[in-house]
Symmetry: C2
Subunit: 177 residues, 2 copies
């Protein structure tokens, strides 16, 4: 119980296990891929490494099957439940990030001519509108299985794409400098 400080990945895993338990890392990966992973990518290797650390911390327990596939099934401990609830009740401390390659390109697009900037902007409009279409379809598909708070995260994602698409459309119409 080395008192390491937990990362967002730690809480992701705790949250996933509480939702899915008992579950394997593979199960977590599946859920992530069609939900929160749309907006914040967590590499699969972390979904194997992090639970092991959480077991060390006493926040999860692992049952390894001793026959056949020897799957590793994780469940919460009471300490894990408490840790997760504490985190949920605490205001977010890190400031959010907007990791968008288009944003980076725009930042360095002075010296490009207006036509090049407009091209970039039009490409970004397409990226975001494609995503809006995809997410809208996804939402329709999961509407009745997903929990309301999960749908809410999807909604925020959609609004981001809408905001970005609108912004880039303006840039395409009237490129800066």
């Amino acid at each position: 119980m080395a008192e390491r400080s937990l990362t967002p990945t730690s809480y992701l895993v705790l949250g996933l296990v509480r939702t899915l338990q008992p579950c394997t890392s593979y199960d977590m990966k599946q859920l992530v891929n069609v939900s929160i992973g749309m907006f914040w990518s967590f590499p699969h290797s972390q979904l194997y490494a992090e639970p092991a650390r959480l077991v060390d911390d006493g926040l999860l327990v692992e049952d390894q099957e001793d026959t056949g596939r020897r799957r590793r099934l994780f469940r919460m401990t009471e300490a894990g439940e408490a840790e997760l609830d504490t985190w949920l009740a605490m205001p977010a401390q890190e400031i959010g990030e907007l990791r968008d390659e288009g944003l980076l390109k725009l930042f360095f697009s002075h010296q490009q001519d207006a036509a090049a900037i407009a091209d970039l902007a039009r490409a970004q409009v397409k990226v975001h509108e494609d995503r809006i279409a995809f997410l809208t379809k996804l939402r329709a598909e999961v509407r009745d299985q997903a929990l309301p708070t999960q749908l809410a995260t999807l909604e925020l994602g959609l609004r981001w794409d809408r905001t970005a698409a609108d912004f880039w459309a303006e840039v395409a119409d009237d490129p800066p400098a």
Copy 2:
């Protein structure tokens, strides 16, 4: 010239050097901290490690002063200019990410009661409104030194915070089940 594939960090450094050259890693850090780093955090160690790799790749050159502080000054090569321009002209390939701790909390907030969700939402409103205030002030300060495309990235950041603040305000008023 091992033909490694360049990452967003690589292009960040190329872009920074083109803007600031000749410049040190420290100079890059300063600019990042008050601009793109507001939305996409790049750890300082990368601003020291990555230029060295780019020198290996032939995309930058380094002049190390041989007196006094022995600063390491970087400049573009023609290959570096070409690489940067090629990237700028190419549509973004990775999908953007929205790394927001509040989003993660919301995703796992089923089982919490409505009051707890409303608390989270109110805290998030404050986070985003504080940032709006900060960025607005920053924009006013840099308005005449910054390049138009750089101001445009700031504008997109502001719109994201506006969108998020509005979203969380709605959640606070009407928490999802």
